[in-house]
């Protein structure tokens, strides 16, 4: 079904007409995915919430320009990516301006994650540690690699959807994603034992 006749298509049409309820519906429908995407990019619950809100604002402002050739979610991920890159640019600028910039502690980067509760305490603890290390490594990747890893592995976007969101040829997406995985693996090499299956 093309987007124009889908539920999203109708919602977007109503939003463009100024229907605020439709906008709220669109937010409710996509906020969880958007937040998760933002959190995996930032590792910071507050920044993730701000990014999510900022992305919805930008989407709202530009809805009339949304071409509807792609899914709304794909378009939203593109906006989120741009918001994230803008935020990082500002952060880098601030860090450049002040050597006293605040460094986030690991304790300050905790978000509520829905873990599998069927594990023993030891297993659960090891799993949590694995997830923490993995999240940290994702955060340590350069921004574009981070975006690619999160889009594919967290949001389960297809290569085609990623190509559309990032406006890149599929071949480029595949090769860059492979490099991002290799870079991630390299970051995790010192603790690789924890990830052995």
């Amino acid at each position: 079904m093309s987007l124009a006749f889908s539920e999203d298509g109708r919602l977007i049409e109503r939003c463009v007409q100024g229907d605020r309820d439709a906008l709220d519906d669109l937010v409710r429908k996509y906020q969880q995915r958007a937040y998760q995407f933002a959190f995996r990019l930032t590792s910071d619950p507050d920044q993730a919430a701000d990014l999510t809100a900022e992305a919805f604002i930008r989407a709202y402002k530009n809805l009339d320009r949304f071409r509807r050739e792609s899914q709304f979610s794909t378009w939203l991920f593109r906006i989120l990516t741009n918001c994230f890159l803008d935020m990082r640019k500002k952060e880098k600028l601030r860090q450049h301006e002040s050597i006293d910039s605040m460094v986030k502690t690991e304790e300050g980067e905790v978000a509520r994650q829905l873990e599998d509760t069927s594990d023993t305490p030891a297993e659960a603890s090891e799993k949590a540690e694995r997830h923490r290390l993995l999240q940290q490594a994702i955060t340590d990747l350069p921004e574009y690699q981070r975006v690619m890893i999160v889009m594919y592995h967290v949001e389960n976007l297809s290569y085609e959807e990623m190509a559309s969101a990032l406006e890149l040829p599929i071949g480029t997406v595949k090769s860059r994603l492979n490099r991002a995985r290799l870079a991630l693996r390299e970051l995790l090499e010192p603790v690789e034992e924890l990830f052995r299956v």
Binding site: Y35, R40, V154, R181, R185, F195, V197
Partner: protein, 274 residues
Amino acid sequence: MHCHKVHDLFSELHEATIAPSLRQAVEAHLKDCLDCQADYEGFVSLYGALAALPIVEAPGDLSERISRRLDLETWEAKQSSRPQIGWLRVALASVAATVVIGTVYVSFTSLAGDGITAGPGIPLSSGEPQILMRDGNPVLEVSPSSQTRVQIFENDKPLVDDRVSAGRKAEYLLNRKGDRAAVVWVRVGEREPIVVIVPSGKSSSGAGAFEGTLVRGLEALSEGFGFVFVAYVRESGEVIQRDFTGLDVNDSLRLLLNDTGYRFTSKNGVVEIR
């Protein structure tokens, strides 16, 4: 096949999208190269670990936060389509010093969460509304921790109605350039904090203007405004700021006047300032 070429094909090999001929070559390489073999095993483990990352639950108030931002956005869009009210109309101190000067009320209304708090009589901490002197002009600086509405009134006439997002900084010039003192009254409450600003003329031009501003302040109090935060700009340009949260009018005035050298008495509802 070189190791780096094999690494380039890890994803395709794992996802089984690799061409059969390449697959054979890569597998042959992996059989002979222990380093690449270990790297590939690590790669596959990572792939599995990524798939097992748990869902991150969005905060319960996320919808609300987004809705507020959208409200603000639509509100600002409407505001920007209207003619702007110049803040320079607040520049009442340009009136001759002996003339009683109108009262300017500034109200902060927190749109989310708790208001700004501080203890009685203590200097304000960062993040709270502050009066700064810039090139001889008193500037109100607001950098709220939650979205905050800032309203400035001259008597009952609204001059500014603004909203400041959390983490942002907004500045409002309250006076024209010149050697003027300004008495600034601010009330910061839980939900409807009020700030009252009373610019005065040069203090050297006589006490009348200064007292007049206090009288206007008292009128404001009688209309239901409470004074909690008080800022006073000395002739020298030094800004004295105190939070009087929880104190009544008399105590607020007494404390304020302690800073200025004036004496204040209140008897049977009659206020006398000397």
